[in-house]
């Protein structure tokens, strides 16, 4: 599904961050990416989603066989790519409800499908709000404006469930969550988990992985994956820290 080959990425101001990263994710797999601060985890998430703040200097990213390099973020989105932001952005005056409706129907448009009816959307909203224990009043609030850290992350997962992406990248979605919120977020992810949807879970902590069992764990350091393996790696890291590698 996602293939990253020898990827080198720099910032706008030419600071090199990813230095030859390789990663392959197949349908239905969950990959966890761990690594110390500044190792390039968020850059990886951003470059896959198409954040214009980062530039590919060499290497390639393909998604379902198609190169992502020249595609706009919205094109990547309509192909089924989703990023749960580490720092979700505020959009004053636009309700989460209105925002997700617009997003859903833009996606339909991009796929040449007819727009969802108000009723269809409402049914989706109700179903997903229930999974995430979100109050319907919450959905009427402006996107991320005045949301607590936990509410922001829950709103990201809500959008993910609404959009039913093929590949979801969760960039430190667990940071700042209490244990109850963490369980709810994990429940949301697990409800989407099936043979067709894949996940990249970027995290510092083992505790999210207790609730979302990854198929693979990778350790990123200085812009490269330095170790890959099963979920036991995460447990070792939790106990011994990155020096262990």
């Amino acid at each position: 599904m996602l293939k990253i080959k020898n990827l080198h990425v720099s910032t706008e101001s030419n600071i090199s961050i990813l230095k030859g990263l390789n990663l392959e994710i197949n349908k239905g797999e969950v990959h966890a990416i761990m690594g110390p601060n500044g190792s390039g985890k968020s850059t990886l998430a951003s470059i896959v989603a198409g954040d214009p703040k980062y530039m590919i200097t060499s290497g390639e990213i393909t998604f379902n066989g198609k190169s992502l390099t020249d595609l706009e973020p919205e094109e990547r989105s309509s192909m089924g790519l989703f990023l749960s932001f580490q720092y979700p952005v505020e959009i004053p005056g636009i309700s989460l409800n209105n925002f997700i409706k617009t997003a859903l129907n833009q996606k339909q448009k991009a796929l040449n499908e007819k727009p969802f009816s108000a009723k269809e959307i409402l049914e989706k909203i109700k179903k997903n709000a229930e999974i995430l224990k979100i109050d319907l009043d919450f959905i009427k609030r402006s996107v991320n404006v005045g949301f607590s850290g936990g509410e922001k992350k829950r709103a990201e997962i809500f959008q993910m469930l609404m959009l039913q992406p093929q590949l979801s990248i969760l960039d430190e979605t667990d940071s700042g969550l209490d244990i109850d919120a963490l369980k709810i977020v994990a429940k949301g992810v697990n409800s989407l988990r099936n043979n067709n949807s894949s996940f990249i879970i970027i995290t510092h902590y083992q505790r999210l992985l207790d609730h979302i069992q990854p198929d693979f764990v990778h350790v990123l350091n200085e812009g490269k994956i330095i170790k890959s393996g099963g979920s036991d790696i995460a447990k070792m890291l939790e106990e011994k820290g990155y020096d262990w590698i």
């Binding site: 989603a49 214009p52 979700p88 617009t102 997003a103």
Partner: protein, 480 residues
């Protein structure tokens, strides 16, 4: 990213005015030019009583001693009053039903998406349609009549309700007020009149669509709304104009009289032709709008200004009565070479008077938008309160937003608050929207729409959809 955004903005800026078409209706009109004879002719054409002609002549002589105002932050080519046609009316002026209305005209409304048919279906909206200068269709009259509400064209009002008009015309905006109010008083040909009797709550939104239609015809609308004690009315005004190369002068006067404990809500969507992407053509919109509030009365102005090459407009409230309330909610969008200098005046005279100002400016292209507002607290206005918020949103690098707030307070017990912000759409906001599958253009529309929310939500339901549509058109189909 930056270049990409500029590209989209360039596309947005290139957006053509979608309401540019001319309705082919045979019309009767004067030769261009303004003199005493023109005014006599206008008055005679309309079978006006002699007091009306006297009033016009006084206004004309006042006009001759005045010069156009030059204090606004606007670059304007001189206006030659002698090149303007002052009277133009469809040949067959009155219709009893829609069937009699010129099919060409109905087509126009259909193109605009505001057909009378459609409008009639929207529950409770009565429309007094003004094409050029004479009203051609009025609906829902019977319902209004039963309540004693008068809602008719200004010509009919002068004919049938002469005393009421005579009493209030010019009482809020005298012809001596400014150059354009003098011009309007001298040559106005039509407009709307609305009277709500004591204790009556008008059960429907009253609405008028103005439309400039004759090449080179300036429109001089005159609107007068009188709300008697304990009454309520919500009035909607919407404008679109066909594409023109030459500038068209529009100098309207709107007067609101809110008697004791009454409330007038006046909403405007203004979308006159803004000129093309090179700044050629477009309507010059010089409007004087003012209301007076007696004890415990309330006047609320809401405006969505997206059109016109030049907008010069300051809907104001004179808070004369104790405990009276004035409100001003405004969205002004400028694009290409448009210039807008708009705002309000809140004149606090009575005790415990309150005013609220919320102004949202959106500037794109090479346009300039200015907020100009005066909050004046007079000596007598004990415990007066004002809150003003003036926000500007800039799209691109080549536009300008300016704020000129004036505060004059002569009473120590008053509280005046002013907040102002200037912002741009952030790259992070755009990326967030795009990641969710919303393309840049739609994302900009969405963000602008959200930014204007505080004002848009003040509009009556019937207007909210149209207002969003106009924002969309002004910023290239970007509002979803």
């Amino acid at each position: 990213m930056a270049t990409e955004k500029n590209k989209t903005l360039k596309e947005i800026t290139k957006n053509k005015y979608q309401y540019g078409f001319v309705t082919k209706i045979e019309s009767e009109k004067f030769e261009p030019g303004l003199n005493e004879n023109t005014i006599k002719l206008i008055s005679a054409k309309r079978n006006e009583p002699s007091w009306m002609l006297d009033y016009r002549m006084k206004a004309y002589s006042a006009l001759q001693k005045m010069t156009p105002p030059n204090w606004a932050n606007l670059k304007i080519k001189p206006i030659d009053l002698q090149k303007i046609i002052y009277y133009s009316a469809p040949k067959k002026p009155k219709y009893n039903s829609l069937d009699e209305v010129d099919p060409e005209l109905l087509k126009t409304f259909n193109k605009l998406g505001i057909s009378i048919d459609e409008q009639k279906k929207i529950a409770g909206v009565a429309i007094d349609v003004v094409v050029d200068s004479v009203s051609v269709a009025t609906t829902f009259q019977d319902t209004l009549k039963k309540l004693g509400i008068i809602f008719c064209s200004m010509s009919e009002a002068i004919e049938n309700h002469s005393e009421l008009v005579k009493k209030h015309l010019g009482s809020v905006v005298p012809y001596t007020d400014n150059y354009f109010s003098a011009l309007n008083a001298a040559v106005f040909t039509d407009g709307s009149f609305c009277f709500i009797p004591k204790g009556v709550r008008c059960p429907m939104e009253l609405s008028t669509y103005f439309r400039i239609n004759e090449a080179g015809t300036g429109q001089f609308e005159r609107t007068l709304i009188v709300a008697e004690e304990d009454s309520y009315v919500s009035y909607l005004e919407g404008c679109t104009a066909p594409m023109r190369d030459e500038n068209q002068l529009h100098a309207a006067v709107v007067e609101l009289v809110a008697m004791k404990s009454s409330e007038i809500k006046y909403s405007t969507v203004q979308n006159w032709f803004p000129g093309d992407e090179n700044g050629v053509g477009g309507v010059y919109n010089f409007v004087t709008k003012r209301g007076i509030c007696l004890d415990s009365a309330k006047i609320s102005w809401t405006q969505i200004e997206t059109g016109s090459a030049i907008t010069w407009k300051y809907p104001s409230c004179v808070l004369k009565g104790n405990n009276s309330v004035g409100e001003f909610f405004s969205v002004a969008v400028t694009n290409n070479f448009q210039q807008a200098d708009t705002g309000t005046k809140m004149i606090h005279l009575g005790k415990n008077t309150k005013s609220t100002i919320i102004s949202k400016g959106v500037c794109a292209g090479k346009s300039n938008g200015s907020y100009r507002g005066l909050v004046k607290i007079s000596k007598s206005a004990d415990n007066a309160r004002n809150f003003s918020q003036c926000d500007s949103l800039l799209l691109g690098q080549t536009c300008g937003a300016h704020t000129f707030p004036y505060i004059e307070s002569s009473n120590k017990s008053s509280i005046v608050e002013h907040e102002a912000t200037t912002s741009k759409i952030s790259d992070d906001q755009l990326f967030y929207c795009k990641q969710r599958g919303i393309p840049e253009e739609e994302a900009i529309g969405l963000i602008v729409n959200g930014y204007c929310k505080d004002v848009l939500k003040k509009l009556p339901m019937e207007f909210a959809v149209e207002a969003q549509k106009l924002l969309e058109i002004s910023l290239e189909g970007s509002v979803g």
